[in-house]
Symmetry: C2
Subunit: 190 residues, 2 copies
């Protein structure tokens, strides 16, 4: 389908903001930077978005959509819930160059928004909730009761987030590679 110029500009702004919010942080990304990366004059931004927060909301929405697509894709690609969970556990490894440098996109965003009591803090949670619920579903399919499945999903998330924090702190991929391997062994055992 043919996108209008307006829709395309909007998408370019969101794409550029998505990358810059991740790599430089939300507060440290200026309209000027987004405008330069997107090739859209910053004066135009207020035609597409009422404020900077609204750009962030669109970015979060895009990330949630992308995540939802990945999860759906893994569900069709793998029949065994255990394989699906392993694929989730592999995510940090598959993107380690970025995570090593800038941390987990979900973890670092919620961390920044949490400080300063940002209004969009709850929106950022959605990404985690999506992953947690999906992982919980997979553990239930493996025969766990609701409480146990929930606990296991949370443990999985703690591992991956912890590895991301440490990998970024030391700019060292081994934190991720080691933890992912251990997590997959753990998934085989539970």
């Amino acid at each position: 389908m043919m996108a209008t110029k307006g829709e395309e500009n909007r998408a370019r702004i969101v794409d550029a903001a998505n990358e810059l919010f991740y790599k430089h942080g939300f507060a440290n990304t200026s309209f000027a930077e987004i405008a330069r990366h997107a090739g859209v004059p910053k004066g135009n931004f207020y035609f597409y978005f009422p404020s900077k927060n609204d750009i962030l909301a669109a970015v979060i929405e895009a990330r949630v959509d992308r995540l939802r697509n990945s999860l759906a894709q893994w569900e069709t690609a793998f029949d065994d819930p255990r394989d699906r969970l392993k694929r989730l556990a592999d995510m940090p490894k598959n993107e380690f160059p970025l995570i090593m440098e800038f941390g987990c996109p979900m973890g670092t965003l919620t961390a920044e928004l949490g400080k300063g009591h940002h209004e969009l803090c709850d929106d950022a949670q959605q990404m985690f909730t999506l992953l947690l619920n999906w992982a919980e579903d997979q553990f239930r399919l493996l025969g766990r009761d609701k409480k146990a499945a929930r606990t296991l999903a949370r443990q999985l998330m703690v591992r991956l987030q912890g590895a991301s924090v440490m990998a970024q702190a030391y700019q060292d991929r081994n934190w991720i590679l080691d933890e992912v391997e251990q997590t997959k062994e753990w998934l085989d055992a539970v």
Copy 2:
């Protein structure tokens, strides 16, 4: 001993900056805010510190000192290395109201400085290195060889950081309480 007025002002600036860098982030903390909290006019800052980065350096130094003191204290308080490690694992629980709201002081600072390739990124690492080396020493005292001790120390850090990230994301202390309990059980087993 009697501190001079200058030393006291310097200390007040560092104390105020320490708290604000933690609660609001480094980039989002202005001189005006620090000045208000410290009770020192912001024009004075450049008499004590050449730049904002130098204030941050002093803050990191203060945090490292504080951490070193805690570790030394735990060493004298507990003879069994396992008890010392449990005390370390308890740290997030003991400060959960703050961690729940603002995340781990070490993790969130390194995360922020990592983005933007900040010059003081390496300084912030020191805090982690201090804890990692200390934990490694304790595992060695428990009879582990160097490689195993190092691995265990890293696993410990991953758990605590992961729990802090999730607790802040959801503003929910249970992420910390649950993980600390599991970590202490894990410490008993290893």
